[in-house]
Symmetry: C2
Subunit: 387 residues, 2 copies
């Protein structure tokens, strides 16, 4: 983890890409830039939506891995806490002061279970997902050992095809075991349909979510039939939150990407057939890159390649420009076609990355800008926290 | 950068994935594992080859970003120093004690040029690539300002289609300007054919390299005609080093991936039609991952997804197993098809990543193992050093 005790000694370009007060033009590239105005508008908008629909919003901290962004989401967007995917991320958020943390994932390694069971001692509510009866006993034993309480969501695989059980009897069986296990508390259901979030068509997404909602309703009813109440039914992403909010069964959202946006999410369409990055959400998250060679007249070579982003969901898009195009990515270089030769060496471009989550995870810092000035430099607090 | 002053306080799982002395079975996943025996054999083998062919070997430090690996390459493989792609990487290697460092890339940002010009004060030879006359004056002014000497390679684009000039007159013009510029020294030619390294067929690679070698010979002759000698002619990768070594014009190699190997490089074929990871080089670099859910009988979900690797060159391959297959990758999960149900929760697998360079760059640590024990935990010293 960064030594934050001596921040002033950090050298721009070696340790950090920028310092507060600096002109945006002087930022060292490639690095992540947050448009703070756009970020704040996105956060307020989703917060207002959740409030209007009487939904809790547990923001997905795995997207940004940042304590600072999570706290902004609490302050401006009324977020109730975070979810994250790894015990090491939960440790970062708890130590950073987030008081309600869900590990929206299975934790099976004995050492990880032990670490998870210690976390409530730091004063936060800790919830974890379970999809296997054996795991109930493992979690219970660790919580007893540390004298803590771990809360449990039973995870339903409602279409992602990864972790999670797929039938109501399995949900009921695990929930009953949780209720019977010392130092565990059944807190509800995790049902995030991840696979549908990126389907372009609103109707195609709705179709998938209708199936998920039916599964979740059946499980909630099945639990009720044996006297078990779900305090929380949690799920929903940037491509689906309106479905969960109007389902009558979910009461907690888990959106992440809405705050930053990316090129892949931006392409999906809303109810009216408009791209969601053309009105619903703003691009607030960019890779700032510089032209470093223009030895060929129609090609600018920029300094952001595979080590400045993840291209799993496609190449980045040059923000606000249709005269140039990022067409190729190698380890440290990007090739930007510049047919009219409008770019010069040291020109800076903002790239909208294909996929925000794994792109944020490559960087150590967010540089927050407003009105052409660097306002803040925030660590990607849980960067690399994969274990 | 990691605070290394208090390493013993690092907590396994939160700060680091393992500690020296630990059993391999107790390593926290996902993390990078180096098979130290295989790594050392690869390093010695390439070192012996370079020596036998009277070639300098400037290892590509951008691949591993590790001072520890670079020093092992100096000690066991006779490496003369490193090349790297970023000023921030050069700063890490110089501060780490590497005495001959080439930034095999263009440096154009004024602040970066200033940092580069300060580096020779720390006692290392510093070389940088140039493909633009304007850059000569910029570098010279910075070196004069700091009272240092920067050495310069003129970069020839011999097929990668990125940075570099493409004609001998351009090479000669820039070299002359370097020779005339205060505090700069012309040191030779950079000519790395990156685009051909991953062509499967040996003959296809040879064809591309023959073109590159012809370009480089022409440039060296053109320089000689105006009285300029190339001390170094540098290039060559894991898919081509035998061509450069036998070219009669190159005298320095820049191989990187040979030391670690990856799935994409492993698939290319040697002269005899054998995969290069089946004899020429050994897989020494793995992502260690654990099964974290097996709720479906034929599918194991593992804990290494997009945040533990780069999939730009394809999905990882499960090492030493043909009964299971990694078929899908999301942010924190991998789906491993397990048709016979042989895997159990907490089983560990070694994955050979598609592409070693950007995969190493996602992690903070290398866990070095030998005979089932953790022998060392090395920082990925220049991780995230992209600026």
């Amino acid at each position: 983890m960064k030594d934050m005790t001596n921040l002033d000694a950090f050298e721009v370009g070696f340790d950090i890409p920028a310092k507060p007060g600096m002109d945006e033009a002087d930022i060292q590239t490639p690095c992540l830039v947050l448009d703070l105005d756009a970020l704040e508008r996105n956060i307020r908008k989703m917060g207002d939506y959740a409030k209007a629909h009487d939904m809790r919003h547990r923001v997905h901290g795995k997207m940004h891995k940042s304590v600072d962004v999570a706290k902004l989401q609490e302050r401006l967007g009324g977020a109730v806490g975070v979810c994250c995917q790894k015990v090491s991320e939960a440790e970062v958020f708890v130590r950073g002061g987030i008081r309600d943390v869900l590990v929206s994932n299975q934790v099976r390694d004995p050492a990880k279970i032990d670490r998870l069971a210690r976390l409530p001692k730091l004063g936060s509510r800790i919830i974890v997902c379970v999809d296997d009866l054996d795991n109930v006993a493992e979690l219970s034993a660790a919580a007893v050992k540390h004298g803590t309480q771990i809360e449990v969501f039973v995870e339903i695989d409602c279409g992602a095809g990864r972790c999670g059980v797929t039938t109501t009897p399995e949900v009921v069986e695990i929930a009953k075991a949780v209720e019977a296990a010392p130092n565990l508390k059944f807190a509800g259901i995790q049902a995030y349909q991840g696979a549908m979030q990126h389907l372009d068509s609103y109707e195609a997404r709705k179709e998938k979510l209708d199936i998920a909602i039916a599964m979740v309703k059946d499980a909630v009813d099945g639990l009720k039939a044996v006297g078990i109440t779900c305090e929380l039914v949690s799920g929903g992403g940037t491509g689906s939150y309106y479905f969960e909010s109007n389902s009558g069964v979910y009461n907690e959202l888990q959106c992440g990407s809405y705050a930053f946006m990316d090129a892949d999410y931006g392409r999906i369409l809303d109810k009216d057939g408009n791209r969601i990055d053309q009105g619903e959400w703003e691009n607030a998250f960019f890779i700032l890159t510089s032209v470093m060679s223009h030895a060929k007249p129609d090609k600018a070579i920029v300094d952001a390649g595979l080590k400045a982003q993840s291209v799993d969901s496609g190449l980045p898009v040059v923000f606000g420009r249709d005269d140039v195009e990022y067409v190729k990515c190698s380890d440290e270089h990007g090739v930007v076609m510049d047919p009219k030769g409008v770019l010069k060496v040291n020109d800076k471009l903002r790239l909208v990355p294909g996929h925000c989550d794994p792109t944020a995870n490559v960087h150590d810092w967010y540089v927050g800008v407003r009105n052409g000035k660097v306002e803040c430099v925030w660590p990607v607090s849980a960067r690399g926290r994969a274990y």
